[in-house]
């Protein structure tokens, strides 16, 4: 009985979170458009990089396909975090805490909204990518796994967005974290395979940066096929980020709701 009530609460917040995102073209359009725009510019601008000896594929378009998926997850995280911070700023969160609804349902609902956005983005990018000529070596099964990994990444990043929102309660603070996420994406193996990164310091940063493994997990499904090691590392890091981020968000929630 208790679990069904909890589920109802989560569903109510998830619905609100999803509808709110869908009703804001200013949020939805950039979240879909900008990652594809950057992907298109990067993939074409760096096409010559596929001629570097040892490059794993002859199509930079295929190689770069992980970029929009990871970047879109970042947009989703910032959007979700900013929405939660807005709820805190506007007092909605406080009013909610006066109701019997458990605060953790609010977190769950918000993250369900993130998952919904991640799913839409994953499917949309996959469709556009295929239309642009991206060749998925792992086939239809691989496409499902790509979307699954994208959703997990979105959930993990969404958890980090939630931590920022709950800790600061400020939309501006959440938005200002965007460059940090962006830096983290670029300081990974997003543009070149780690073994082809010449600068030692950059290769070191890319190696310790978990985003490299998320990227390589998605990329392996596109250019290699079924690479168990890349997938284990990709899903392993994605799950670790989800656990740490959601755990951190839940702990932060306890300090905000006294």
């Amino acid at each position: 009985m208790r679990s069904s009530a909890f589920l109802t609460e989560v569903m109510a917040i998830a619905r609100r979170s999803t509808v709110r995102t869908m009703r804001q073209p200013a949020v939805l359009v950039p979240a879909l458009l900008f990652p594809m725009l950057f992907f298109s510019i990067n993939a074409n601008g760096l096409d010559a990089a596929s001629r570097i000896p040892g490059f794993p594929t002859d199509s930079y378009l295929d190689f770069a396909f992980a970029f929009p998926l990871i970047q879109a997850s970042l947009f989703g995280a910032i959007t979700a975090g900013a929405d939660l911070a807005r709820d805190i700023e506007s007092g909605f969160f406080d009013r909610l805490s006066l109701t019997p609804m458990r605060p953790v349902a609010l977190l769950g609902g918000m993250l369900a909204g993130v998952v919904a956005l991640g799913l839409i983005q994953g499917v949309a990018f996959l469709t556009v990518g295929l239309l642009m000529g991206v060749d998925i070596s792992s086939g239809v099964g691989g496409m499902f796994v790509i979307v699954l990994l994208t959703v997990l990444v979105a959930l993990g990043f969404g958890g980090i967005g939630a931590i920022l929102a709950i800790r600061t309660g400020s939309v501006e603070a959440v938005e200002s974290a965007f460059p940090l996420f962006f830096v983290a994406i670029f300081l990974s193996s997003i543009n070149l395979p780690r073994e082809l990164i010449e600068q030692d310091w950059f290769r070191f940063i890319a190696t310790v940066n978990p985003i490299s493994y998320l990227v390589e997990g998605i990329r392996s499904l596109v250019i290699t096929g079924w690479d168990a090691q890349a997938l284990i590392l990709g899903f392993g890091f994605a799950l670790a980020i989800v656990v740490v981020a959601i755990g951190g968000a839940a702990a932060s929630l306890k300090t905000r709701v006294v």
Binding site: I41, A48, F186
Partner: protein
């Protein structure tokens, strides 16, 4: 005429003071610095691609783009600042008090040049630390001149948008076109190695000529200098008219 320069001097002095007293005054340089680190650090091997013929090396190749990006974003930030002045009411008072309102545009542009010098020095200092080879000699003045012209063009564009919309929500309208112009150029490889739609876009993009000439200056092998300066001058002329149009729109709005 003297009132024109008097107003310009006053606006420039206020903007420069405001700039240096803002703790985030080097913020426009952060994104270019970050892109510089990411591209120059992570993509060095792209310099090994057959046909990549830039003599000064890949880090220098990326430095020029980062420098032009930094000074252009400095122009965009001046646009944000103008929009802020309209939102907080300062610009309305300024328009009432200024004996020659065109001086306002010049004043903001002069302050933007100060901003560009600071951000440009930051990016250059960083590039020197990571070991960029300087082989241009006297030609480096050409690079500096092109960077200043790029800053002026971006400032005039930002000023026009800010005066037209008069709200800080104009930020994306200022930033996005500048970003697109910067990225739809030969960012990662020379123009000769681009293909597909990006090659067409880069060839049509006037900024490509400026970027290629600036890279030539740094490598001590100036190419396409005349066309780069002519294009810059034409752009500045058109964007100055755009800024004046924005100013007149603000005047009409009161």
């Amino acid at each position: 005429m003297s009132s024109f320069f008097h107003v310009a001097g006053a606006v420039a002095a206020r903007q420069t003071y405001k700039y240096f007293t803002n703790p985030a005054f080097l913020a426009p340089a952060l994104f270019p610095l970050f892109f510089f680190v990411a591209f120059a650090g992570g993509l060095t091997r792209v310099g090994d691609v057959p046909g990549f013929d830039y003599g000064a090396g890949y880090i220098a190749f990326q430095y020029v783009w980062a420098l032009l990006q930094a000074v252009s974003m400095g122009g965009a930030f001046t646009g944000f600042s103008i929009a802020g002045d309209f939102e907080n009411g300062f610009a309305s008072r300024l328009m009432l008090a200024a004996s020659n309102r065109y001086g306002i545009i010049l004043g903001y542009t002069m302050a933007s040049i100060v901003r560009a010098v600071m951000t440009g020095m930051l990016v250059t200092g960083f590039a020197l630390v990571i070991g960029i080879p300087i082989s241009g000699g006297f030609d480096l003045f050409g690079l500096i001149a092109l960077a200043l012209l790029a800053n002026i063009a971006a400032t005039l564009f930002g000023a026009g948008v800010a005066m037209l919309l008069r709200t800080q929500q104009a930020g994306p309208v200022i930033r996005t076109p500048i970003f697109l112009v910067l990225f739809l150029a030969p960012v990662f490889v020379p123009l000769s190695l681009l293909s597909g739609w990006i090659e067409t876009a880069a060839r049509l993009n006037p900024f490509t000529h400026v970027l290629e000439a600036a890279r030539g200056f740094l490598a001590g092998d100036p190419t396409g200098v005349a066309s780069a300066f002519i294009i810059s001058a034409i752009l500045i002329l058109i964007l100055a008219l755009w800024a004046v149009y924005g100013l007149r729109s603000a005047e009409r709005a009161g």
